[in-house]
């Protein structure tokens, strides 16, 4: 008889024993296969690292006024005599359009210094420092991305604004995830009257359209509060509007797991409520929670940005990307000073990356979804 194609030596050793790999590792593997999601993850890591070092990277305080630099364009950089330099700006008034325009005076180079002393800040909110990555001689400014109508450096504002924009939404979602998970779990697990009550409450909350509701809540905040307090309150508003969605999803998952055989087995073995919830239900729902949470972040960032953009969220003198958008919402900005629109691009990149990340996690966690 001829050699059968299937008559090969046993390849069992060569094939990995798929059964031995822990669940989360399989998830990580599946995640890595989606290249877009991995890119999203890396981009976010970069963004958050920049955010942590934002004060260090920003050359100027975000509210530093300098009318000599109003609407200054992005600084021109060159290498002169082996040194990295920018140039002093000559400010001239355009009589026709009544605008300032700038020319870089190439005869007056301004060397760029590194690790300069600048405004004071607290690294990570704790350590007082005043070193900044780069800067120029006292009395002049280097605006890598240009300046706004008061001469405030856009790069510095962008960096400082990241502290708000990247954290507020994140924390808001975190809070709503916690609230939503707890309530959803309680509702699904205990059922009966508790479940009914909570469901009715959620239904009522969801009867109000979310956008008008958070606009109303934000508008109700007194304008005189301190920046940190306002930050916290806006976070709270976003969290309070969002938790209902997650609570419903968690409840659904808990309901389906509660009726599972392994839960029944745990009950039969005498496990306590707490044990069942923490050891069986939550770990299973966790992956779903992470997905929903991650995908909720773009919405939360969008909400904060929208509120600030409308003047109801973060208010000056604080800065977030939404506040910067508000400054940019003029015809002049759009046509003559395009660097003011950079926050739009940054926002889109951030939001997109979160979405790619969330999508990748979702596929990794439940490939059959």
């Amino acid at each position: 008889m001829s050699a059968d194609a299937t008559n090969l030596p046993t390849t069992k050793a060569a094939v990995e024993d798929v059964g031995q790999i822990p669940q989360w590792q399989l998830m990580v593997r599946r995640f890595r296969r989606s290249r877009l999601s991995v890119i999203g993850l890396y981009v976010l890591i970069v963004l958050y690292v920049i955010m942590i070092f934002s004060d260090f990277l920003a050359p100027y305080d975000h509210n530093k006024l300098d009318s000599n630099y109003a609407w200054a364009p992005p600084a021109k950089i060159a290498i002169v005599d082996g040194q990295l330099v920018t140039f002093k700006l000559k400010q001239t008034l355009d009589e026709v359009r009544f605008e300032w325009f700038y020319t870089a005076d190439e005869t007056q180079p301004l060397p760029i210094q590194f690790f300069v002393k600048g405004y004071e800040y607290r690294f990570l909110g704790l350590i007082p420092m005043d070193i900044h990555l780069f800067g120029v001689e006292e009395g002049y400014q280097i605006n890598l991305i240009g300046a706004d109508k008061d001469g405030k450096d856009v790069l510095s504002r962008l960096l400082k604004g990241s502290q708000v924009s990247l954290t507020l939404g994140f924390i808001g979602v975190l809070i709503s995830v916690i609230i939503g998970s707890v309530i959803g779990t309680a509702s699904g697990y205990f059922g009966g009257a508790i479940d009914n009550l909570i469901q009715r409450l959620i239904e009522l909350l969801r009867s109000f359209p979310d956008v008008p509701l958070f606009l109303a809540l934000a508008a109700a905040l007194p304008p005189g509060v301190k920046v940190e307090v306002r930050f916290f309150l806006i976070t709270l508003i976003i969290a309070l509007i969002q938790w209902t969605g997650l609570a419903r999803e968690v409840r659904g998952k808990v309901l389906s797991y509660r009726n599972n055989d392994y839960t029944a087995a745990a009950v039969a073995a005498g496990a306590s409520h707490w044990h069942i919830i923490t050891r069986h239900l939550i770990p299973n729902a966790m992956s779903h929670i992470v997905v929903v949470g991650t995908l909720a972040i773009p919405g939360a960032i969008g909400s904060e940005t929208a509120l600030s953009f409308l003047g109801l969220g973060i208010l000056p003198p604080a800065v977030s990307w939404g506040v910067m958008l508000r400054d940019a919402q003029t015809v002049e900005a759009i046509t003559s000073y395009p660097w003011m629109l950079l926050p739009v691009g940054v926002l889109i990149v951030t939001v997109f990356s979160f979405y790619l990340l969330g999508d990748g996690i979702r596929d990794a966690v439940d490939p059959y979804a």
């Binding site: 008889m1 059968d4 299937t6 008559n7 046993t10 390849t11 069992k12 094939v15 990995e16 798929v18």
Partner: protein, 340 residues
């Protein structure tokens, strides 16, 4: 290449020759069918028996060309001879979604599945779904189709067929749904009915009723049946001939009596021994040593040799046994080195 020898009847409604199907997945290749050959005699019930994962369902699906798109056909023929005096066609030559293949499905060859609870579309009435098949293959007249649907529902013993026809699937019990499925499958009087574990999800009483129904239909309409199951008890009740499958190969084929009283292949013998029997003295349940190997691996030689109690060292682990005829007159064949 191997041929199936059946001395009892050269009139087979379906003859599968050396069918090979593989699935290419991210984690490796699964060789679901490794050269499956058997025949289904006209007018008889052939049982396909085996453990989970041996490939029995894939075999049935292959005949209907309904295997999941990840599965690839890598050789073999499936010959279908609709009429005893007609020609045989190789089903695999038709494209999956071609008019010819669709003309065969539901019309000449029908299939019913394991889960009656989810086999019917919840959005349409039972009658509507049966009429769909009739309108597709038999007549364009809606009233006529409706009449035939009620006819076939009556034939399968449904109480109040007209009311059933206008009911939705979720209004019926599991047993009734399976009856409805059978009615739908037989509505166009097919030459062959493939039943993929149709009673596994039913309780024993309902199961008995369904099996009796299938026997009755088979006699009345003359359909041949390919009955896929893992339950030897069911085999005894309904099958005329039996083919035993293991890891994508047929290891023994015989009449139902011979399988029970004169099993030759060690796997068949082990299967029969592991059936708990009433009245036996209490001892340990006999089970087959080891377990079915993981689908991604390939086993050299005879696929059963790692678990075979009488495996011959040096022979069984290196060479695939050929098919040998044990009793040509009764169509008993086996693939085992003990008999080569």
């Amino acid at each position: 290449m191997t041929n199936s020898h059946t001395a009892t009847s050269h009139d087979d409604v379906v003859r599968v020759e050396d069918l090979k199907v593989s699935f290419y997945t991210d984690l490796g290749v699964v060789r679901a069918l490794n050269g499956v050959s058997f025949n289904i005699p006209r007018g008889k019930v052939l049982g396909i028996v085996g453990e989970s994962g041996c490939g029995k369902s894939i075999t049935g699906l292959s005949i209907m060309q309904l295997v999941h798109s990840a599965g690839r056909n890598e050789g073999g023929r499936i010959l279908f001879r609709e009429f005893a005096d007609g020609d045989a066609v190789n089903i695999l030559e038709y494209e999956r979604n071609s008019a010819e293949m669709r003309g065969i499905r539901g019309n000449n060859i029908s299939m019913i599945f394991q889960e009656p609870m989810s086999s019917l579309n919840p959005c349409y009435t039972v009658g509507n779904q049966i009429e769909e098949a009739i309108l597709l293959h038999q007549t364009q007249d809606a009233t006529e189709a409706s009449k035939r649907a009620i006819d076939i529902l009556t034939k399968v013993g449904m109480p109040n067929p007209a009311r059933i026809a206008s009911s939705y699937p979720h209004e019926l019990s599991g047993g009734m749904r399976q009856r409805a499925m059978i009615a739908m499958a037989l509505s166009c009087t097919p030459t062959l009915l493939i039943a993929d574990e149709p009673t596994t999800a039913l309780d024993v009483t309902t199961e008995a009723n369904i099996l009796e129904l299938m026997r009755k239909m088979q006699e009345e309409i003359g359909t041949s049946i390919m009955f896929i199951t893992h339950n030897m008890g069911v085999v005894a009740q309904i099958c005329d001939e039996v083919a035993v499958m293991y890891l994508g190969r047929i290891v023994e084929r015989a009449s139902v009596d011979d399988i029970f009283y004169e099993p030759k292949h060690p796997y068949t013998i082990s299967l029969l021994q592991s059936i708990p029997r009433l009245g036996r003295s209490r001892g340990r349940l006999a089970s087959i040593e080891g377990s079915v190997p993981d689908p991604y691996s390939r086993v050299s030689g005879c696929p059963f040799h790692p678990r075979c109690p009488v495996a011959i060292q040096g022979v069984c682990d290196s060479e695939v046994p050929e098919e040998t005829v044990v009793d040509a007159a009764k169509g008993h064949t086996v693939r085992c080195h003990l008999y080569t």
